[in-house]
């Protein structure tokens, strides 16, 4: 089975690419931050060239130029932790880090290092929605054909979706602890994922409450369809009509119009890694899904 190795390699790649790149802003970020928080030190990737003693010309990764006041610099290139001095219009160096890796992640105000969560949290959430959709798809096919196999696939996909949904909740909740200060804030997006968990918990409760297999398959398929048609009311309507903390809600100015995926702030490189991760998680889902289907089929044959 080659897919297994491919998924493995892809995951190693995604994990490395998510943690190796350093966070790097540009000079505009430093200037902007100096007006808000004077103690803030911001990493900027750039190159320097000496103008005079202790004064350098600094060119950041985006091509912005500025004057840098520093002493004892041996390296010409790397990540410079900077502060901005408004009165004298120059930057001062607080810390230096050698950096040879060609990718950096953008400096997103308020997120910084915590922005890396997007590379795991969003793909997991996406896979859970995908799994629920596939579960419903097989549910509908079961209702049409009453073929037992479709019910098996529907349940397997729903249980995987449930697992991924829990993962998304946990990763999101840990992130929320560090970003918003508590694990759970009843932000609209948190509310909607909670409801999604409730729906599928109810789905499994319903399944265990019905003895006859055909009825179990039919009724749970019907319930998942009924529940799914109300999900848009949560995912798309509620977060936008009420205010929330989550990126993409109605009062998030950085992504007007809203939507569950963060658009703002992601650089091109970061987006590539994001999509790699998305592919990796989706493939992982399909791999486990087919494995699970084979296991249930073998179990059935043995009986």
């Amino acid at each position: 089975m080659k897919l297994k190795y491919f998924i493995g390699i892809l995951f190693v790649l995604v994990i490395l690419l998510s943690f190796i790149p350093k966070i790097s802003g540009n000079l505009t970020d430093v200037k902007f931050y100096s007006t808000i928080d004077t103690t803030k030190i911001i990493p900027v990737k750039g190159v320097i060239s000496e103008i005079s003693n202790n004064l350098y010309k600094f060119i950041d990764k985006d091509g912005n130029e500025g004057k840098l006041y520093a002493s004892n610099i041996t390296n010409k290139e790397g990540i410079f932790y900077l502060k901005y001095n408004e009165y004298e219009n120059h930057f001062t160096l607080k810390k230096f880090e050698k950096n040879t890796f060609f990718i950096t992640f953008p400096f997103i105000p308020g997120l910084e290092e915590k922005a890396r969560i997007i590379l795991f949290h969003v793909p997991v959430a996406w896979v859970s929605v995908l799994a629920f959709l596939i579960s419903m798809f097989y549910g509908i096919r079961y209702l049409k054909s009453e073929n037992y196999e479709f019910d098996v696939k529907s349940v397997n996909s729903a249980s995987l979706g449930f697992l991924f949904c829990i993962l998304a909740t946990v990763t999101g909740s840990i992130w929320a602890r560090f970003n918003w200060g508590s694990f759970w804030n009843w932000d609209p997006r948190e509310t909607s994922i909670f409801i999604l968990l409730l729906i599928y918990a109810a789905y499994f409760a319903l399944r265990s409450a019905i003895e006859v297999e055909e009825k179990k398959a039919k009724l749970s398929a019907v319930y998942s369809i009924i529940a799914f048609v109300t999900v848009p009311f949560f995912i798309f309507i509620l977060p936008r009509i009420t205010s929330g903390l989550h990126p993409g809600s109605a009062d998030d100015l950085s992504s007007p119009g809203g939507g569950p995926v963060i658009k703002s702030g992601m650089s091109f490189e970061m987006r590539i890694i994001f999509f790699l991760s998305l592919i990796a998680f989706t493939l992982l889902y399909f791999w486990i899904f087919t494995l699970k289907n084979r296991v249930t089929e073998l179990e059935r044959k043995k009986i």
């Binding site: 006859v212 297999e213 055909e214």
Partner: protein
Amino acid sequence: MIRLFGESVQKVFNGREVFNNISFDIHTPSCLGIIGKNGSGKSTLIKIIAGLLQVTKGKILYEIDGKILSPDKLFKRIGFLSPYLHLYDEFTGIENLIIFDEIRNQKKEKEFYLDLLKKVELYDRRNDLFRTYSSGMKQRLKIAFALSNEPDVLLFDEPTSNLDDTGIELIHSIMKQHKERGILVIASNDKSDYYLFDEIINLNK
């Protein structure tokens, strides 16, 4: 003319096959008998013929003058009697009949129901609640219910159960009459019903 035919009908219930490969083809006037020991699926088959249960494989179709009857409209054409059938306890005998016909949108004159109740000898008790009836009287009211929409197809599951001698006489005369003009399907283990059968499905293998 009504034709009722089943093609290699199979029913699986909770992973267990109840019966398989049942085929029949009858048309008016005729009587189909379903026999078999307890648990062989007589009631299941007659429910399937009545459209109350779905088949797992195969099909059952009604043809009226060459046109296939839609399963949604089937209920207007059949009369069904079964020990599994329960009427509403909180309504009187005559109310039960009238309410059912209202829902069927086939309400008739009151005389019709009174005549029907006279026929099944429940006229005197027509204004008593169904829950006060004895089991034989309940069976009589169910017979009246089966006849109340003047069906072309009568489906009787153990028709003589709970009936006394006059009741058995009555239902035999009803069945004989109906057999002359429509389709009659009887699921029964009572040997005294066998003389009615034109065709037989034996569920014992």
